[in-house]
């Protein structure tokens, strides 16, 4: 069983071969081992690119990625990547076989890894179902489970909250915070990051504009507006009511005397 590993991007640059501009122009971030980190950015800010670099699917044109204590490439801990569209990975006729793919490729104990992953994600009841027949939220969970099963030290999730309703989001948030791995996820959903992330970075036009505690970073309305991201509802509300501190949650807000 692996614990989470530290993730760092140091001044990475990347331009796609058929692209006309740099997707990443010197982006740096630091994620402590075991943290849930949200990379926030608008459409086209470079989130997917950064995740791909962290996952080792592309090599940066400049700068470097460090996973764990070593620089990328020297017996590195594994990074599992789940794509934005969960269907991109689905090829098996059952969830069980789908989730078995990664551990099998890595030569791990498949049965044990599959059981552990399904359990951690809470989708044991979907074991024999066909992935392509599941709902969007269930597919998302299967995709994450299939990555977790390979026992990576880091999970890189690309926009995992897309198309999820509130219940699905809560389930996802709970699962991710309970995992003992490092989770790096990309999203434009600041509410999700505010509630579930330990740390965040805001990506804007290929570089990180701000990073740190969600409570601080996501309370900066100007920063978020400049990055094309909608601020968390609770932050907007606190701003309108003229509060000088944003409540930690809706329950805390409900307790306040303010309307």
């Amino acid at each position: 069983m692996t614990d989470g590993a530290r993730v760092a991007a140091i001044d990475v640059r990347y331009a796609y071969p058929d692209g006309d501009r740099e997707a990443l122009a010197g982006a740096s971030l630091e994620v402590a081992a075991g943290e849930v980190h949200a990379i926030l950015g608008g459409n086209g800010a470079g989130k997917t690119t950064l995740l791909r670099l962290i996952a080792g699917l592309r090599d940066p044109d400049g700068g470097r990625i460090e996973i764990g204590e070593h620089a990328e490439g020297s017996g590195t801990p594994v990074v599992g990547y789940a794509p934005e569209n969960p269907k991109n990975g689905f090829f098996a006729e059952s969830v069980e076989k789908e989730v078995a793919f990664f551990p099998s490729n890595r030569g791990l104990d498949v049965d044990a890894r599959v059981a552990a992953a399904l359990d951690a994600i809470g989708i044991g009841h979907l074991r024999d179902r066909m992935p392509l027949s599941l709902s969007g939220g269930e597919q998302r969970m299967v995709s994450i489970a299939s990555v977790l099963a390979g026992d990576p030290a880091v999970l890189a999730l690309d926009e995992p909250t897309t198309h999820l309703h509130r219940h699905g989001e809560r389930e996802l948030g709970a699962v991710l915070t309970d995992l003992d791995r490092t989770v790096v996820l990309s999203t434009h959903d600041a509410d999700f990051a505010f509630e579930y992330a330990d740390s965040v970075s805001v990506l804007r036009e290929g570089s990180v504009a701000a990073a740190g505690d969600p409570r601080d970073v996501l309370a900066d309305l100007e920063l978020l507006a400049g990055a094309g991201i909608r601020a968390p509802g609770i932050v907007e509300w606190a701003d309108r009511r003229g509060l000088d501190r944003v409540p930690a949650s809706i329950d805390a807000a409900a307790d306040l005397e303010v309307d």
């Binding site: 990074v79 599992g80 269907k87 991109n88 689905f90 098996a92 490729n105």
Partner: protein, 252 residues
């Protein structure tokens, strides 16, 4: 004043490409093919918005194929003076002058046809092509599906790449020996085919909603008008066609 390749009417471009293909198919002399190639180069150079570099760049997939064709066919075809011989068991593999000349002919033929097609493809927009085809009598639905297919290629390529990422990230080997590659087919093919089928449904719905099925007469946003350059191209095409007929009648 040089003309613009992209402004040429696709019909005149088609008219040019057809006799080039016909001639390229029947020409049996290296000199003839070189002359034909020269005509194509002249057309490319005479226009102003296609650089030689872009044009040759489009043919870069052939840079591996051409040497291969030359090498193989020099051995497969024979005739004339023997330049080298290699006994392989009961068979004697020879490289002859005739063989070399024939392989050069084959390679040249391929290059001529490919370069004409590349010129057409690089300078003709899908929508203009669609309109041009409709005006020469191709049913609009067919022409449209053709131009739509062209749009789909980059989309499918992106989807393939995304699927590849998802599978590589979970340990799929996409390089390696033949056994490894065969095993990698299924996890690549299944999601890709599913994606294509899904796209097909969505596209079909989208076309229905945008009145693709309407039986009424269609109009077109695109106007195609002949210019002087088009008439010149038509004349050139006519000349080539006559040469083609001459070759048929009297031999290459």
């Amino acid at each position: 004043m040089r003309f613009s390749h992209r402004d040429l009417d696709p019909r005149s471009k088609l008219a040019f490409v057809v006799p080039v293909f016909l001639l390229g198919a029947v020409a049996d002399a290296i000199v003839g093919l070189l002359a034909l190639g020269g005509v194509i180069v002249a057309v490319v150079v005479a226009g102003r918005d296609l650089s030689l570099r872009q044009w040759i760049g489009a043919l870069s997939p052939f840079k591996y194929l051409i040497p291969l064709i030359l090498a193989l066919n020099s051995v497969f075809y024979g005739g004339g003076e023997v330049l080298a011989a290699l006994p392989l068991g009961a068979v004697r593999v020879t490289v002859t002058v005739g063989g070399i000349l024939t392989s050069v002919l084959i390679a040249l033929r391929l290059l001529v046809l490919a370069s004409a097609a590349a010129w057409f493809g690089l300078t003709t927009g899908a929508t203009e092509f669609e309109r041009g085809l409709t005006l020469v009598g191709v049913p609009w639905r067919l022409a449209f599906i053709g131009s739509l297919t062209l749009r789909l290629v980059p989309e499918m390529r992106t989807r393939f790449r995304n699927i590849e990422d998802a599978q590589r990230a979970r340990g799929l080997e996409v390089s390696g020996g033949p056994v490894a590659r065969a095993r990698s087919r299924l996890p690549m093919l299944v999601p890709f085919l599913a994606s294509i089928v899904q796209y097909g449904y969505e596209l079909s719905d989208a076309l229905t909603v945008r009145d693709f099925d309407r039986e009424a007469t269609r109009t077109s946003m695109i106007e195609l008008r002949y210019s002087r350059a088009d008439y010149l191209l038509f004349s050139l095409a006519a000349v080539l066609f006559v040469v083609f007929l001459a070759v048929l009648a009297w031999g290459p």
